[in-house]
């Protein structure tokens, strides 16, 4: 299996993983599971970047993956802190109850 051919398999896999992440965000109501689905989508994009980077022999894509991971760590920390702050008042993590800005 040569690299240019296998690249399409990796891209197809990351497309499937991304769509599963999208479905997780759309279907689930638990806000922590939604945050995990966002992480899954970030991982799918990372897989795209790494496979393209390796196929073309260019290191820039993997450096972008490095930065994406750092931003994902920051996003997870701040997102979970917000979840804890809201949970203290509402005592739930149901996304349908998080309507602080409504009305």
């Amino acid at each position: 299996m040569d690299l240019s051919h296998s690249l399409n398999w990796y891209l197809a896999l990351s497309a499937v993983l991304f769509v599963i992440g999208v479905l997780g965000v759309l279907l689930r109501r638990n806000v922590i599971v939604i945050l995990m689905s966002v992480e899954l989508m970030l991982n799918a994009v990372n897989l795209t970047l790494v496979s393209a980077s390796q196929a073309f022999g260019d290191v820039s894509g993997q450096i972008l993956v490095f930065f994406v991971m750092a931003v994902a760590a920051a996003e997870a920390a701040v997102g979970l802190a917000i979840v804890i702050a809201i949970f203290r008042n509402k005592l739930t993590v149901d996304i349908n109850e998080f309507n602080l800005f409504k009305n």
Binding site: M1, D2, L3, S4, L7, N8, Y10, L13, A15, V16, L17, F18, V19, I20, G21, L23, L26, L27, R28, N30, I32, V33, M36, S37, E39, L40, N43, N46, L47, V50, S53, Q54, A55, F56, G57, D58, V59, Q62, I63, V65, F66, F67, M69, A70, V71, A72, A73, A74, A76, A77, V78, L80, V83, I84, A85, F87, N89, V93, D94, L100
Partner: protein, 169 residues
């Protein structure tokens, strides 16, 4: 050649773990299945000869970020949410939207099948994934973004502590 076989095993594992993460009712099971998914993707990085990213994936994602998730899930002591009783139209809409996104992605990949330029040789690909090759670019061309990401992580840490500490909502 072992690589295609390994790819399909890891790909099936990653997709199955991701689907399980979406379906599992208990958030702890979701988190553990996501860890399994992250390990499968790290294995896929190894099949691509990207050793550095594979190690970072296990250390940062499966190690740090998922431990943070599990810590918050267990801190909040969540009960399983009740299943929705009646059929909701938003579910059908979500499935249709997901199918559309998948169709679009598959269409783009299929269109790009012949557009992809000449691929790198396996030796070149093996040299690209090492920590040395990444560090050479990261600490020269991408020095400023690297330092900015450090500041971003500091700000995120302070912000997370402030958000979780105060009662303001």
């Amino acid at each position: 050649m072992i690589a295609p076989f390994l790819f399909f095993i890891l790909a099936i594992g990653a997709v199955a773990a991701a689907l399980g993460m979406i379906i599992a009712r208990n958030p702890v099971n979701s988190a553990l299945l996501l860890v399994l998914n992250l390990f499968c993707i790290a294995g896929l990085y190894l099949t691509l000869n990207a050793q550095f990213i594979a190690v970072i994936q296990v250390l940062v994602y499966a190690g740090a970020i998922m431990v943070l998730f599990l810590f918050v899930i267990m801190l909040l002591n969540l009960a399983e949410m009740p299943r929705p009783q009646q059929f909701r139209w938003s579910y059908a809409l979500a499935l249709v939207l997901g199918a559309l996104v998948l169709a679009q992605a598959v269409y783009v990949i299929a269109e790009g099948f012949n557009v992809i330029p000449a691929a790198a040789s396996p030796e070149q690909a093996a040299a690209t994934g090492t920590a040395k090759a990444i560090a050479m670019d990261l600490f020269t061309t991408y020095m400023l973004p690297f330092e900015m990401i450090g500041i971003l992580l500091l700000v995120a840490t302070i912000g997370a502590v402030m958000l979780a500490k105060r009662r303001f909502i």
